[in-house]
Symmetry: C2
Subunit: 363 residues, 2 copies
């Protein structure tokens, strides 16, 4: 399908697959002959029940989630979940956090409300994931952020913890962009508004044995055991977000690229998109991405202009060229291109062309 | 506008104004020339900033919210908010709850995680709001649910607390259906999925002097002071829900009925719809609503068939007649017609015709 829409590099909420948006629009007044918009459906009705069940089944298949993990569709976003995880898993004990950027730092701060948080390693002002982790054998869990949206640092392999302590991964900004090695994970969570759907929903994948240990002060709406026992229907779930997410899951399942299909196709396309963009940045004299090549994110590519007086004209001209939302996070400055699943290869090609053209005129 | 859609009496998520759904569909791929769906917009961009600002301004105008109240667009729903309120307001002290049905009972249970909760009065198995309230002068606040969605009990006047203790109202299922007497309120909250928009968002109206007292264990995403200081943008708000809510606010502002306009028109239409439906129930020998006439809800009308063996055929025939989602809550049984703002008078007229017709055939 050819689109006339501009390419949107926003970090989240972020671009969604155009066929999904078209279907959402087409079904807005009448979902499959029900006479209702999905927004209007009782969550207890059979129509929404079917939507939720299919979404969960497709997601489980896409990510090959083992049977001993529960999938929860939770209200709220990543920041809220940074409190909900320790409310459910910390048991008021110890949490080890590996800080690799802004989000893991926020998680550590939030965890301190409920537990003894230790920074097991810290990237500081560096650009590579630190190697030596001071882990405690009696920690309730180890927390990492597997893709730092602001800093552009990604774990390409999950650590193997040999002391039996569960690993918690905040995978918000690369969830569904690649497979997850569940053998190394106790709990994974991700806000929806990157690769999944509208803001206001968080997906949680939790291993059965970690349920049932919530602190008494955990609100029941956020108690994993309660939500799991009720199949994400203890209270009213974010129904419309689940519906959109379900359509995105169907889109991923059907995607074909480079002879691959489904999540494998998405991953290969993400690898190719990232290689194209980093290659262009590295070959340039104007742009710079400082992240170590071992942990550059496939999803979020921050870059600086060596002459930052050019920032404003860069953004103005990019927008005029149909390339939106390239401004970097205020804490980092410069630019950031978020190239999530729904960003087509053509979008990155257009960005690379623009980068070269802008440099030839201003470099 | 004439619609061919069936009438949807779901208790929430619930029917939305058809013009709003049409606009959402029309703007799905390109909001006002931005090249983005609202679902895809960065919450920090100027486009979404304008959407949020207009929504808040319109809501403040519609409900005549005084300047010393902050309006917060929060993640999550009513059940979550039942924990968030005591996390912010209880100071770990005392809460008095007046129980008038299922939702206030849930609020009391949730509050016990954080404070000394006393049931100041309890409707029990009755059908009228109890009169004698055992209030404590040193309570942090008094909690009531001003419209019990399941039980169909509504406060038509807010209590005047003379001891200076703030009144907290859970007005989820009648928010925006009538004015609120802010002089009697310290905090009001309501889940969106009744009169406002999609599930997954809660509106909070909080008086300035009640900010700044959150417990240390309150997650920052749910700390009213933090959310207020950042104009609901401390973390990613539920952007799409805010957008739909904003369109609903515009729809309410423009509504005309019986020579009135805006919230006054909505309220008058709700009064007329409720009178029509209760009148039909009371005149019948088959149907029964037991709620005391002093506190019958304008929004949620539960009713029983005196012969409950007819329940199934009632629901089947109603659906065939284009009247959806009339099944009562499992805890109450029977039927429930939720007739929120977006339910037109014609919907209630159609229901009343069906009630009479069904009774004539089965009564």
């Amino acid at each position: 399908m050819t689109s006339s829409r501009p390419f949107n590099f926003a970090p989240g909420p972020a671009t969604l697959p155009e066929p999904v948006l078209r279907q959402v629009a087409a079904e807005m007044l009448d979902w499959q002959g029900s006479g209702m918009s999905v927004m209007e459906m009782s969550h207890r009705g059979k129509e929404f029940g079917a939507i939720l069940e299919r979404a969960e089944t497709d997601l489980r298949e896409l990510l090959a989630v083992p049977g001993n993990f529960r999938i929860l569709f939770m209200q709220g976003g990543g920041l809220g979940e940074n409190a909900v995880v320790p409310l459910n898993l910390s048991r008021g004990g110890k949490i080890d956090v590996v800080v690799t950027g802004s989000w893991s730092r926020k998680s550590a701060a939030e965890g301190r409300r409920y537990a003894d948080v230790q920074i097991a390693a810290d990237i500081g002002k560096g650009y590579a994931i630190p190697g030596d982790w001071a882990l405690r054998d009696d920690a309730a869990y180890v927390h990492i952020c597997t893709n730092e949206t602001i800093d552009g640092v990604e774990f390409h392999d999950l650590p193997l913890l040999t002391n039996g302590v569960p690993l918690v991964i905040d995978c918000s900004s690369h969830l569904l962009s690649r497979p997850i090695d569940w053998s190394r994970v106790g709990l994974a969570f991700g806000g929806a508004q990157k690769n999944i759907g509208p803001a206001g929903m968080t997906l949680v994948f939790v291993r059965d044995d970690l349920l049932g240990h919530a602190l008494d002060i955990c609100p029941s709406a956020f108690n994993y055991e309660t939500v799991a026992a009720n199949h994400s229907m203890y209270n009213t779930p974010p129904t419309f977000a689940i519906y959109v997410a379900g359509l995105v899951f169907q889109w991923v399942k059907a995607l074909e690229y480079a002879g691959k299909r489904g999540l494998a196709a998405v991953e290969q396309r993400n690898i190719d998109k990232a290689a194209l963009l980093y290659g262009a940045l590295d070959a340039s004299g104007l742009y710079e991405n400082r992240v170590d090549s071992s942990c550059r994110s496939r999803m979020n590519v921050p870059f600086l202009l060596r002459d930052d007086k050019l920032n404003e004209s860069f953004l103005t001209q990019a927008k005029a060229a149909g390339l939106l939302s390239l401004k970097g996070h205020k804490s980092v400055g410069g630019m950031r291109a978020s190239i999530y699943n729904a960003m087509p290869l053509e979008g990155v090609q257009a960005l690379v062309s623009f980068l070269k053209d802008f440099e030839s005129r201003h470099g």
